[in-house]
């Protein structure tokens, strides 16, 4: 028994070291660039595959493998900074964050195209012996990982403490303007930091590959998330804190698995994340409890003059859309219906992220709640579909608001991290709450769409229903935006300091925004569930959250017409270019990057 606990401790410590290699880089980058790098896990995957390729094709011994990984990943890091982020100097502060998301999509997809999505086994490059210690065992690989973790930490400490460039990194992290006035080339410092952080991330990737004996391109997202959790535990930008946070996270996960089983592992990590954000947003090691005000340089969201679309034009478009089923092109209608469902989600997100400025990265969770609520009401409670769908909307509004409520006092980057974490928690709860949700099996046999006896299960029916619901939601949203409520929402976004002086009522306005957003997204999820007849915990994953964000940015943040346009374009266009299907995610990533760089206000302009 004691031996087993010893093993869990060793395992937690080893995993903690792997997280530390990720989190330290995130902390360094946050320090000098004030940016949470969402592409960090993608570099880790690049590292894992470079290591795998070096061993498989070149037969490199371990030190050479590591060297290859370090060099390639450092170059990738330099590329990310130089090509992806530096051109955004002076842009609104959400821009670099979104750019790292775009870069992550591109890198992941490129890795997948080169190496295929199938998992690969990284050949073990250390002897396979284990020593027995007090009933438990430690293997050579455990020692190697711990050794690399400790060595990296020591080298990094020496670099920051005793070299001139290291001082420049610390000085830039504390006050980059002041550092410039000492003659520090802060652009170069940024470049160096990205190179170091990416090299460490890559090493982490190979080591994980050896530890679990398996790598696949999809593991990037989880790596990014875990790095961020460790970063938040240690405190944003706190390098030693990141190491401490990583070890805590590794041990928590390991003991969590020991007590409750593997499927709870990530739940622990994300609950820890939300708890930290709510109670200790500065990290475990900071004396201060309140959040530092985010630097007020520039607005968070780019401002622009929105394009005015005359209402007759909107009416004509709606009429044409309503006549589309007469063409008798079921495939086209299917795409149309899909676009409309996404458009409802985009309406919801454009309000929350654009109008209120709370850039949510977990919006797909609202779809999941709506889908499961409506599906379960219809299946288990026997409610008619026409009642279950609006009820699901209301349930999502309430539940969504309740879940985000603890994060209301957060701003900027913290909101994005919190919503990302909450989104993961929702999907993990769905997976683990087997009694209610059927767990991993998913929800099958969901009754088709019908309204009081009229069967809408056909493609035409689904399409028309979606169109009607979307038009109603859009009209309601436009009304809200033009009311006093809309002005208050924009006030919260434009001046969070002044809005903070609203105190409680600021929270109330945020709650109303998340409530309305939850309602629209919940309806969308519910309709989707009935249209698909089967959903599971992965149907509404993080990719959909990112896709929705891309739609909303494409249309112009806060812009109702823009949201519908963005959704239609991003769903319909890839269908038009079906031969590009393989490159779909790559295209989304590139679209996102180009938009942020050249047209941050989107097609229709931010409102």
């Amino acid at each position: 028994m004691l031996g087993a606990w010893f093993d869990y401790t060793v395992n937690g410590f080893v995993i903690g070291n792997i997280y530390a290699l990720l989190a330290v880089g995130l902390a360094l980058i946050y320090g000098v660039a004030n940016l949470v790098n969402f592409a960090h896990g993608s570099v880790y995957v690049v590292g894992a595959y470079v290591g795998w390729a070096a061993i498989t094709y070149l037969g490199t011994p371990l030190p050479v493998t590591l060297l290859c990984v370090v060099v390639v990943c450092a170059l990738v890091g330099v590329g990310i900074e130089r090509l992806g982020l530096r051109p955004l100097h002076g842009a609104s502060r959400i821009a670099p964050l979104l750019a790292t998301i775009g870069i992550a999509l591109v890198l992941d997809q490129v890795v997948q195209l080169i190496f295929s999505p199938d998992p690969r086994a990284v050949p073990m490059q250390v002897p396979d012996w284990r020593i027995t210690l007090g009933g438990g065992t430690i293997g050579a690989l455990d020692l190697l990982i711990a050794g690399i973790g400790l060595t990296s930490a020591a080298v990094l400490y020496g670099f920051l403490r005793f070299t001139k460039l290291g001082w420049a990194v610390r000085a830039t992290a504390q006050d980059s303007d002041a550092a410039k006035q000492m003659g520090v080339d802060t652009d170069r410092v940024n470049l160096v930091v990205f190179a170091i952080a990416s090299a460490l991330s890559g090493i982490s990737g190979v080591l994980v590959g050896m530890y679990y004996n398996q790598i696949n391109p999809a593991m990037s997202f989880e790596a990014t998330l875990k790095g961020i959790v460790a970063l938040i535990i240690g405190g944003l930008g706190n390098v030693p804190g990141a190491i401490g946070g990583s070890l805590i996270l590794g041990l928590t996960e390991s003991y969590g698995i020991a007590l409750f089983g593997t499927s709870y592992r990530n739940l622990f990590a994300f609950v820890l994340l939300i708890a930290m954000l709510v109670w200790r947003p500065n990290g475990l090691f900071a004396a201060r409890r309140s959040l530092p005000p985010e630097p007020m340089t520039g607005t968070f969201i780019a401002r622009s003059r929105p394009l005015k679309v005359p209402s007759w034009a909107v009416a004509v478009v709606i009429l044409l859309a309503a006549l589309l089923p007469l063409l008798d092109a079921p495939y086209l209608l299917q795409i149309g219906a899909n676009s409309l469902m996404y458009a409802m989600l985009a309406l919801s997100l454009t309000l929350v992220a654009g109008t209120v400025g709370q850039v949510s990265l977990g919006h797909a969770a609202l779809l999941a709640i709506g889908g499961y609520a409506s599906g379960l009401l219809a299946l288990d409670a026997g409610w008619p579909v026409a009642v279950a769908i609006p009820a699901a909307g209301l349930i999502t509004a309430a539940l969504g608001t309740l879940l985000v409520f603890p994060a209301f006092r957060l701003t900027g980057h913290y909101v994005s991290i919190a919503t990302l974490g909450i989104g993961e928690i929702v999907s993990l709860v769905i997976l683990n709450w087997t009694g209610l949700t059927r767990g991993a099996i998913g929800l099958g046999g969901i009754p088709p769409l019908e309204v009081f006896g009229y069967d809408l299960g056909s493609v035409q029916g689904t399409y028309w229903l979606c169109l009607v619901v979307l038009v109603l939601l859009a009209l309601l949203q436009v009304r809200l935006l033009n009311s006093h409520l809309g002005r208050s929402w924009r006030a919260i976004r434009d001046d969070s300091v002044a809005a903070r002086s609203y105190g409680v009522s600021g929270d109330r306005y945020k709650a109303l925004a998340f409530g309305y957003g939850g309602f629209a997204a919940g309806i969308s999820g519910a309709i989707t569930a009935h249209a698909y007849s089967y959903i599971n915990h992965e149907t509404f994953g993080a990719t959909i959250s990112i896709l929705a964000l891309t739609m909303v940015i494409l249309g112009g943040l806060g812009n109702v017409v823009g949201a519908v346009l963005g959704a239609t374009l991003l769903i319909a266009l890839p269908e038009a270019f079906r031969f590009l299907a393989e490159y779909r995610i790559l295209i989304y990533g590139i679209v996102l990057l180009l938009l942020i760089r050249f047209r941050p206000q989107g097609l229709m302009g931010t409102v």
């Binding site: 420049a168 504390q174 002041a178 410039k180 006035q181 000492m182 003659g183 520090v184």
Partner: protein, 241 residues
């Protein structure tokens, strides 16, 4: 007369659509202390940022030591021989006093020279010598101001730009800081300083400019400005008497 060390020529500065400087021109002669006076939001700090390359002017030129430095990146400008004591000091609070001093010498690589200058500067600011290992952020406001000046000196600049070096200091410390500025100047370093406290600044300066909503309203030798009734009315009130 030899060419001035620093010269702003018809500068027009903007923050977005808002214009802050209107054809601002001024000159800082080598070896002098020149002060730029003006009320809040008159554009004093923006002048400093323009010299340091932190704010690019919409039009106009900045000349330093015979070279056009307009639009150069800040690190290049610092390397060409300008030191900065920024508004509100902007020390590296989590670094030690010694590390802050060495950051001041960031552009230099002559180890023996840096060590000698560290000694020289600590001779000028003996209070800092006792606190070399202390974190800069934990020092008193007056000590921090001294460290900011010492840090700027460590780069061996020809010119030091100071933005309100006496801000927030007790009267005793204000006098001390002004004396130190004169001491630095006597060592051959030219000083260009921004101040709100006109009588104090003019007391140590050779020449002064008065900035009003982005335009030079008044200029002259410090002694003449001190006597000028317009400046007494506008800035000094009864305090100058």
């Amino acid at each position: 007369m030899s060419a001035p060390l620093l010269r702003l020529e018809a500068i027009n500065s903007f923050y977005g659509p808002v214009q802050v400087h209107f054809d601002l021109s001024l000159v800082v002669e080598a070896g002098q202390i020149v002060c730029l006076l003006g009320g809040n939001a008159s554009g004093k700090s923006t002048s400093m940022k323009t010299v340091l390359g932190l704010q690019r002017p919409g039009s106009g030129k900045v000349w330093f030591d015979g070279a056009d430095i307009t639009g150069l990146p800040t690190p290049r400008i610092i390397r060409s021989g300008i030191g900065s004591v920024p508004e509100a000091r902007r020390l590296f609070g989590a670094m030690t006093v010694r590390e802050n001093l060495l950051m001041g010498a960031y552009t230099r690589s002559d180890k023996p020279g840096i060590a000698a200058d560290e000694d020289r500067v600590l001779g000028l600011f003996p209070r800092l010598r006792e606190r070399l290992k202390q974190r800069a952020g934990t020092m008193s406001g007056g000590e921090q101001q001294m460290l900011a000046m010492a840090r700027a000196l460590m780069g061996r600049p020809k010119l030091i730009c100071m933005d309100e070096p006496t801000m927030g200091l007790s009267p005793l410390f204000v006098d001390r800081v002004l004396e130190l500025i004169q001491a630095i100047n006597r060592e051959g370093v030219t000083i260009f300083m921004v101040e709100q406290n006109a009588s104090l600044a003019l007391g140590i300066a050779h020449y002064g400019y008065v900035l009003q909503t982005g335009r030079i309203a008044l200029e002259g030798p410090a002694a003449a400005l001190l006597r000028d009734p317009r400046i007494r009315d506008a800035y000094l009130g009864g305090a100058a008497a």
